[in-house]
């Protein structure tokens, strides 16, 4: 890889790394893993920077790669972790119970559903924007979001009920 475009990439990295890192943390609830995957996504962006930089939305491309990396990571029980010399284990605080429950709900969805929910509820995309981003009909996206919300609500309410029952048991 030649170094042409290095300054542009560095500026892109500075502008977008916090957002993407936070999204990776949202999708992993693991600070170290979020850093690994975000770094991997940026490395991929750099490995084809000539193409990515010419896109209308390089961050969108990198985000898509990152989300897929995170979601793929859910499917794996093992993963060859590359050595990251510059990882900060405490980059994020420990995930909250709500966060873990939400992640559990997302993991119970299909990859497309999970992505749609993150784009819609996390990043504020509209349904037409998500449909365009994912090259799917708007109706499909609406259905994904609706089902995802229902699933998440189920899990969240069952947890809250469990917490109340658990508290009562402890008395």
């Amino acid at each position: 890889m030649d170094e042409s475009g290095g300054e542009g990439f560095d500026a892109f990295f500075r502008a977008s790394q916090r957002r993407l890192l936070a999204q990776a943390f949202l999708l992993t609830a693991d600070s170290a893993k979020a850093q690994d995957l975000t770094q991997e996504a940026f490395e991929r962006a750099w490995s084809r920077w000539r193409t990515v930089s010419a896109l209308e939305d390089p961050e969108g491309w990198t985000r898509k790669v990152l989300h897929n990396l995170c979601i793929s990571d859910w499917r794996r029980t093992t993963r060859h972790r590359r050595t990251r010399l510059d990882r900060q284990p405490d980059c994020f605080p420990a995930p909250s119970d709500d966060h873990l429950m939400l992640l559990s709900a997302l993991r119970s969805l299909s990859a497309d559903q999970a992505r749609a929910i993150v784009l819609h509820d996390g990043l504020g995309y509209t349904v037409p924007e998500i449909a365009a981003d994912m090259s799917k009909p708007e109706g499909t996206v609406k259905a994904w979001i609706s089902r995802g919300h229902s699933r998440a609500a189920q899990l969240l309410s069952s947890t809250q009920t469990g917490e109340i029952e658990g508290a009562n048991d402890g008395r």
């Binding site: 916090r18 490995s47 793929s72 992505r115 994912m134």
Partner: protein
């Protein structure tokens, strides 16, 4: 739309996304560029290397087809990409190499299936089994006829049978799954369940990744490899596929 249901989701997501980092991420643009350069040496296929790879694939495939179950082997339709753990007909052979066409020309008779770890916007044609079921050699449920080593994999998914304790060589050949040339390998082969199948070694050479796998205990596990993939230069629509391809070998380990 279950808007009420979405309120909690939205709230939690916003809380997480707005969480201030407790320490600065020390990674920088230049460090990303350095690490990308050192780890992901791009593979640029030369014509001679491509020809050599084609010969190796043909030879390996011939070996598998000739030697499996006494010549009575059957081609197994490629499983939907990403459908790890899909039912394996005991003793079936590894699918023959396929050249996946460009995503822009999906035959109507095929079932579009999401590319493993890829974007939802792209599909690969996957041949489905519509005729008589593939019949493998007779074996007891939960057992299978071990696939002779080496095993050649050059499709999105394949199956194999390995006896407990045996070490088998598997050669993965990159697919040109998106109509363009494949790129570098991303890490080595991994096992979905190292208590069933363990990857002893994994080495790459151009478009080939050779792994030594060992069956540890009866069961089914998936051995996965990942690689970068280019979009086709001829693709007229914007190619937004995250540049990654994956091949999987579903391994049934038998006593």
């Amino acid at each position: 739309m279950a808007d009420d249901d979405g309120d909690d989701v939205k709230r939690i997501m916003q809380e997480v996304l707005d969480t201030p980092v407790t320490a600065d991420w020390s990674v920088t643009g230049p460090s990303i560029r350095r690490s990308a350069r050192s780890r992901w040496t791009r593979y640029v296929p030369s014509s001679s290397l491509v020809a050599a790879a084609a010969i190796i694939v043909a030879l390996a495939t011939s070996l598998v087809l000739i030697s499996t179950d006494g010549g009575g082997s059957h081609h197994r339709a490629a499983l939907p990409a990403g459908s790890r753990g899909a039912g394996n007909a005991p003793g079936t052979t590894v699918p023959t190499p396929t050249s996946a066409p460009s995503a822009t020309s999906v035959p109507s008779s095929n079932t579009p299936t999401t590319v493993p770890r890829g974007s939802s916007s792209t599909t690969l044609p996957v041949t489905t089994t519509t005729g008589a079921p593939v019949v493998g050699p007779k074996s007891l449920p939960g057992s299978c006829m071990p696939t002779p080593s080496p095993i050649a994999v050059s499709s999105a998914s394949a199956t194999a049978c390995v006896a407990v304790g045996s070490v088998v060589t598997v050669t993965f050949t990159q697919l040109a799954a998106y109509g363009g040339p494949p790129g570098g390998w991303l890490g080595g082969a991994t096992s979905s369940d190292p208590t069933i199948v363990v990857v002893d070694s994994s080495t790459t050479s151009g478009p080939l990744l050779t792994a030594q796998i060992r069956g540890l205990s009866p069961g089914t596990a998936t051995v996965m490899v990942d690689f970068q993939n280019e979009c086709s230069a001829a693709t007229t629509t914007p190619c937004t596929i995250p540049p990654q391809g994956q091949e999987t070998l579903t391994v049934q380990v038998t006593n």
